[in-house]
Subunit: 702 residues, 2 copies
C-alpha cells in the first residue's frame, strides 16, 4: 500500500530480478536485439515473456527488429514463422510438436541465438528455458540444447468444487471464480497459465474428482470455455472431471448404464456440445465406484465398460479418458492395498486406445512414504498415468516445509522388474517400457487463491518440481531444487546450498516424525490434521489407523507377506522376494510389509521400539536444524518471506513434536515398554492427545 | 510477476501516488522536516504512515529531526509527547480522546504544522487526515481543522465463520486464517488495521453473528488475541459475537438461562478469561432468539435479561454488549416489519448502562430502499446503535456497482420527529437527541481475502463511506465519494466528476431495476441472487416474496396503513401521517406502505403499472449510461482496473435486464395488462425465469 510492494510470493519462480552487472553485460551482448514473430497468440506470449523477463533480469528489454539487421540476434520462431529458423527444420522434426532447440549458430554470417521449435508452443517453452538459464546465471556460450517432453499429458488435477471450496486445499479457495466467469477473466488466470507453461504443464482438470454433474451443464461449460480461451496460448488444455451418473442428474435419464444406448447417445451429444465451445477440450477424468462415487459397477458393468463409454464419445474429437484406479471397497475382506490391482489387472487390454488408467504413486493414499503401486508394470497393454499429490494432505498441510522432489524421484526410479532390471516406474509411465505413445502424469494441485498460490512459499517448490519431472522424470530432484531456490530466492550459493540441503532433508524428516519405518495411515480422522494412531471404529475399517499399524502388546506392522495378506505377490518376483523377506526389506518399509515384535533387532542394533522412538525424535530434531539454517539466512532473504517461513517453521516444529509425543504415548500404552534412555516422556497423557479436536481444520472432504 | 505490479486494488484509498510537481513543491516546503515521537506503537504507526505517504506523494519522505531545528516543521504529538504541542493542551482537551487538531501555527518563532491530539490515536487519525488533504490536492495554507468523532463505537461486523466461509460475503474467504493463528500474523492484518484507522473505525467483531460457541474457547481466544495485538496500535478493539448457549455447548452446563447463578458465574469467568489475554477486549455482539439462534426467550426470559447477563460479566472490565434488535418470529401472525418494535419498546430502560441495542437501518432487512426503522426515536432511554450492511447481499453482490453513500445518508438524515422536527436518525444514533454518551454504529463488512479486499474496486467505496459517516454522519455522501475517487483513481476533475456522478446515481438505479416504488424482499430464495418475485411456500411466509408484494390481478403493495397492518402507527404522528396517506407518501415508498390498484395514478401521470415498468427499464438504461461513462474514461484510468470495472458493468447491465424482464413477466402474469407503448416484452417466458437455479451463488447462509 503506497510503497514498493513487499515480496509476497505472487511472482513464484518468475521473479526476474536483476542479475549481477557483469553477467548482465555478457547477456546483453547476446540478447540485445530480437527477431520474433507476433502473428499468433502463442507467438505474442513468447515474445512478451522475453520482453518482461529480460527487462527485469537485464534492466532493459531487447530491441525488437522486424527483419534482423544486427550482427548478433536473438531469434524466436518456427521454420514457418521465421526465415532464420527455416534451415533447422530437420533438427526440429525429431523434437516433436512440443520440443525445442536452444542454440548458438551462424546464419547468413550473423551470430544468432535460436529459440526454435516446430510449433509455436515449443518456442514458448524454449523462451522459459532460456530465461531459466539467465535466472540461474548459466553461461550461454556454445549453447546447444534440445528438449522434448518424456510424456504427452502433463496435467494438474484441481480438486475444486463449484462453490469455490478446495478439497484437501490449503491455499485458500479455488482460483476459478465461477460466479463471475465467463464475463470476467481475472488476469491471475493468465499468470497461472504462464507459470504452468514455464514448466511444460499442458493440461488442467478444473474440477474435483468427487465431481458435480453440473460442471457439464451448458452454463458451466461456457465458464470452462472462457478459461480454455485464456489458457490456449500457453499450450494448456482444459479437462473436466465427469460424474458418471450425469446422464441421470442433468440428462433426465433413468440410468447411467454404460451399455444402454440412450446413455451412450447422451455422452456423445454431451461431447459434441463440449467441443462446440472448447474445440481443443482435453477429455474427462473419472473417479468411479470409489469412496461412494457412482460408476459402471452400479449396473454390473466393469471399469472398462465405463471408461470405454466415455472414450467412444470423445474419440471423434480427439479427447482422452483418464480413469482413476483408486478403488477399494470396505465390504471386501481384502487388504485395501491389494484391491486396485485385483480389480484392474484382469482388464488389461480391455480399454479403448484413448483411455489412460490413472494410478496413485502407492497402493494406499499419498502417504509420506509408500512402496510403488503394484499396478505399475502389471498392465503392459494399458497406458498407466501417474497420479502424484502435490497438495500436502498427509504431509502437514501448507505450514510444514516438505519438499516432495525426493518422494517423486524415489517413486519414478523404483524398479518394477516387470521386464527385468531397469523396468523403472518412470519407464512404465513414459511408455518406453511397453511402447505406449499415449502417456501422462498428473499432480493433484496445491494451488488456490492465496497470494502465495500454494499456501506457503516453499510449497511453490512442489508445484515446480512436479512440472519439471513431468517434462523429464529422469532429472534429479536436487538439481531442480537448486534451480527453484536460485529463481525464487537468490542466486547466491550461500543461499542456494543451505536451502537445498534443508529441502532435500525435509521429506525424510516428515516421514520420521509422522510415519517412520513404513507406518502409514495413522493420522487423525477425516481432516487428517495431526496424529491419530488410535483411530478405530467408524463407518469402515480401512479408514482407521488400527487397520494399518496392527500394533498390540507384542508387536506392530501389517503382515503383507505370504503368511499375511500376501500383497507382496502383486509385485514382480524380484521385488516380492526383497520386500517379502523381513531380513531384506528396506527398514523404511519394514512395517508396511511385516508385523514384527517390539524387540525386533534393527540395523542400528536397537530394538524396534527404541528405533521407532529414535526416529520420531530425529524428525523433530531435523526441523529444529532447519529452523537454525533458516535463521542463519536472515540477512540473505527478504524480510517478508523470511518472517513468513520462520513462522511456519515454528508451527512445523511444534506439530512435529506433537506427532512424536502423541505417537509415543499411544504405542507405549499398548506395549508398556520404557522409553529408551535419553528420550523425553510425552508432556501430556494419551487421553489429552486423543481429546484434541479440530473441527475447522482446512481441506476436509465434504 | 517479474515487472511493475499492475494496479490490482490492494492499496485501496492509500495509494499515495505522486502529486503534480507544482503542488509537490508547495507541500515539500511545509513538510520537509518532521518532529515525531516514536515511544509507543501508535506513535510509530503514525510516523511510519507519514513517511510512507509523503514518500509516495512527494517523492521523498520528510527528514526526521530529533528536536526540531528548522524554521518550518511538521510536528506530530500530544501535550505529553511533544514540547511543541504542549501549549495547545487546552485546545485539545475539548476534542476528546480520539479527536485531533491540524493547524498551521507559530511557536517559538517557528512556522509549524501541527498534527496534535490528546492521545496518540488522535495523532494517527490526524496523520491520515493530513495525508487525505494531500491526496486530494488541498492547500495547507491557514490550516485549522478540529475533528472529533460523533460516535464512540465505530465498528465493523464480520460475518465470518471459523472455517473461513463468509456469510453474505462476496470477496473471497475470511481474512482471518484461524488455522495459522496465533503463530502466523499475516502482514495483511496490519494493512487491514491501517485502512480502518484511516477512516477512524475503532472496533471489529471478528466472527459471524450466527456464532459458533467455539470462538469463545481457549484456543480461539488465543487466536483472537493475536489479531488484537496487531490491531491495538491502530486504535482498533476486538469484539466477538457470543452464542447465547455457549455455557451449554462449551461450558458443560445444562442451561443457558440468564437468571441461573451458574450461568452467570460461567459468563463472569469467561469474561475474566478473555480479558486476561485481550486486556482491551471490546465486548460481545449478540444475535439471540432470531432466525433460529438461541436466546433468553428459550427460558421465558426477556431480551433485557439476556443482554444484562452478559453486560454484568463485562462491566468490571469496561466491555459492552451490542444486542441486536433483528428479531421476528414466523409463528407470530404480525407484519414482520412491526415485530422488533413490539418486542423492544417495552424494554426501554430495562438494559444495563453498558448495553447498546443494535438496530438495522430499516425494519425488514437491508433492502435497496426501506423507510428508517421505527425503533429509532422510540427508545429514548436506550442507546440505539445503527447497523448498516456494507456487503451487498441485496444489491447485486460484488459485481454490481452500487455506491451506498446515498442510502446511508438518506437513513441518517431521515427525521423521526421523536422530539419534534429535526429529530434525525443521526441524532438518535449519535446520542445528541436523548443525551447518551455510549453511542455507536456498525457496518456488516464487505471485506474478504480477495485481492481487492471488497470483491470489486467500487465496493471499496462502500467500506470507505461507511467509515467516514461513522466518524461524522453529517457529511455529504457526494463529497466523500469525491475524496474516494481522487484518492483511489485520480485527482483529475475529468475523472472525479463523471465517476462521482455515476456513483451517486447507482443506488437509485439498483432500486429501479430491483425494487422500484417501495417493493421489497422480492429476490430469489436463500442466496438472494437475482429476481424471485414468485417465491412462495417454504418454511415461513415471511421468507417469501408474495408475503411482501401482495400482488394480484387488481393491485400490488403491502397495506401498512391503519386499514392494514398499521405499521405506520409505530412512527411518530408527523411521520405516520405522511407515509400512511397514499396521497402524501413519497412514491419511492408507495408499495411499502400501501396496496394500490394497478391503475393508480402516479405523479408522472402514468398508471402505476406503466410507471412500474418504466422504472424497471430506467434502471437498466442507467447502467448502460454508466457503461458509456466508464468507456469514456478508458484513457484516464489504468488498464487493469478499467478492464475489471468494465467487465463487472457488463455483468451488472445483463443482470439488471434480467431483473427487469423477470419482474415484468411475473407481474404481467398476474395482472394480464399490456406493456406500455415502447416497452419491450421480456425475451423469455415467465417459466424460464422461474426455472433458473444457482446452487453455487456465493455467500448463502449455512
Amino acid at each position: 500500500m503506497g510503497s514498493v510492494r513487499a515480496e509476497d510470493g505472487y511472482d513464484l519462480w518468475l521473479r526476474y530480478g536483476p542479475v549481477d552487472s557483469s553477467l548482465a553485460e555478457q547477456y546483453r551482448t547476446r540478447l540485445g536485439e530480437m527477431v520474433a514473430p507476433d502473428q499468433t497468440a502463442t507467438q505474442r506470449a513468447a515474445r512478451e515473456e522475453l520482453m518482461r523477463g529480460l527487462g527485469g533480469l537485464l534492466g532493459s528489454a531487447p530491441r525488437l527488429q522486424a527483419e534482423g539487421a544486427g550482427q548478433r540476434m536473438l531469434i524466436l520462431g518456427t521454420p514457418d514463422s521465421s526465415r532464420w529458423v527455416a534451415p533447422f527444420r530437420h533438427d526440429l522434426d525429431v523434437l516433436g510438436d512440443e520440443g525445442y532447440l536452444l542454440r548458438q549458430a551462424h546464419v547468413e554470417g550473423r551470430d544468432v541465438l535460436l529459440v526454435a521449435a516446430r510449433q509455436d508452443i515449443g518456442v514458448l517453452y524454449g523462451v522459459f528455458h532460456l530465461l531459466r538459464l539467465l535466472q540461474t546465471g548459466t553461461s550461454l556460450e556454445g549453447l546447444d540444447l534440445r528438449e522434448s517432453p518424456a510424456m504427452r499429458l502433463r496435467v494438474l488435477n484441481h480438486w475444486d468444487n463449484l462453490d469455490g471450496y478446495v478439497e484437501r486445499g490449503y491455499a485458500g479457495g479455488s482460483l476459478w471464480d465461477w460466479h463471475t466467469l465467463p464475463d470476467w477473466r481475472d488476469p491471475r488466470y493468465t499468470d497461472y497459465a504462464r507459470a504452468n507453461a514455464s514448466l511444460g504443464i499442458n493440461g488442467t482438470v478444473l474440477n474435483n474428482v468427487n465431481a458435480n454433474a453440473l460442471s457439464l451443464s451448458p452454463d458451466y461449460l461456457r465458464k470452462a470455455a472462457a478459461l480454455a480461451d485464456v489458457f490456449r496460448p500457453y499450450g494448456i488444455r482444459v479437462y473436466l472431471s465427469a460424474r458418471f451418473s450425469a446422464p441421470i442428474e442433468i440428462g433426465g435419464l433413468a440410468t447411467a448404464d454404460p451399455l444402454d444406448p440412450a446413455v451412450q447417445r447422451w455422452w456423445q451429444k454431451k461431447a459434441d456440445e463440449i467441443y462446440a465451445v472448447i474445440p481443443d477440450f482435453g477429455g474427462f477424468l473419472v473417479k468411479a465406484n470409489s469412496e461412494g462415487q457412482p460408476g459402471p459397477q452400479d449396473y454390473g458393468r466393469s471399469h472398462a465398460d465405463g471408461a470405454n463409454l466415455l472414450a467412444d464419445a470423445l474419440a471423434p474429437h480427439g479427447g482422452v479418458v483418464m480413469w482413476r484406479a483408486f478403488v477399494y471397497a470396505h465390504d471386501v475382506p481384502e487388504d485395501r492395498a491389494k484391491q486396485a490391482y485385483n480389480e484392474f489387472v484382469v482388464l488389461d487390454g480391455a480399454f479403448r486406445r484413448n483411455v489412460l488408467l490413472q494410478v496413485k504413486n502407492g497402493p494406499i493414499d499419498f502417504q509420506p512414504r509408500e512402496p510403488f503401486h503394484p499396478l505399475f508394470g502389471a498392465m503392459p497393454k494399458t497406458p498407466l498415468m501417474m497420479e502424484f499429490q502435490i497438495t500436502k494432505e498427509y504431509l502437514g498441510f501448507a505450514t510444514h516445509l516438505v519438499y516432495q522432489g525426493p518422494l517423486y524421484e524415489e517413486v519414478l526410479r523404483a524398479d518394477t522388474h516387470a521386464r527385468g532390471p531397469g523396468s523403472t516406474v518412470a519407464r512404465v509411465v513414459d511408455g518406453s517400457l511397453d511402447g505406449h505413445r499415449l502417456t501422462g502424469i498428473a499432480g493433484v494441485a496445491n494451488i488456490g487463491d492465496d497470494r502465495t498460490w500454494s499456501g506457503s512459499h516453499f510449497d511453490q517448490a512442489n508445484w515446480y518440481v512436479f512440472g519439471r519431472l513431468a517434462w523429464n522424470p529422469r532429472q534429479s530432484s536436487r538439481a531442480i531444487a537448486a534451480d527453484w531456490v536460485a529463481m525464487t530466492f537468490a542466486r547466491d550459493p550461500g543461499v542456494v546450498q543451505p536451502v537445498v540441503d534443508m529441502m532435500m532433508a525435509s521429506r525424510e524428516a516428515a516421514v520420521d516424525y509422522m510415519t517412520p519405518l513404513g507406518l502409514h495411515h495413522v493420522m487423525a480422522r477425516g481432516h487428517h490434521y495431526g496424529p491419530g494412531p488410535w483411530v478405530d471404529g467408524g463407518p469402515r475399517a480401512d479408514w482407521t489407523s488400527v487397520y494399518y499399524h496392527r500394533a498390540d502388546r507384542d508387536g506392530i506392522g501389517f503382515d503383507r507377506t505370504t503368511r499375511g495378506s500376501n500383497a507382496v505377490s502383486q509385485y514382480a518376483p524380484a521385488v516380492a522376494r526383497d520386500v517379502g523377506d523381513v531380513k531384506r526389506v528396506p527398514e523404511s518399509l519394514l512395517l508396511w510389509f511385516h508385523h514384527v515384535p517390539w524387540d525386533h533387532r534393527m540395523a542400528s542394533g536397537r530394538p524396534l521400539w527404541d528405533e521407532l522412538v529414535h526416529r520420531y525424535t530425529r524428525g523433530v530434531r531435523q526441523i529444529e536444524a532447519m529452523q537454525a539454517t533458516w535463521e542463519g539466512l536472515r540477512d540473505k532473504v527478504d524480510a517478508p518471506r523470511h518472517a513468513h517461513v520462520a513462522a511456519f517453521l515454528r508451527i512445523q516444529r511444534n506439530e512435529a513434536q506433537w506427532w512424536r509425543d502423541a505417537s509415543v504415548a499411544y504405542f507405549q500404552s499398548l506395549n508398556g515398554r520404557a522409553l529408551p534412555a535419553g528420550e523425553a516422556a510425552p508432556p501430556h497423557s494419551l487421553s489429552y492427545y486423543r481429546s484434541l479436536q479440530f473441527p475447522f481444520a482446512p481441506g476436509d472432504g465434504r
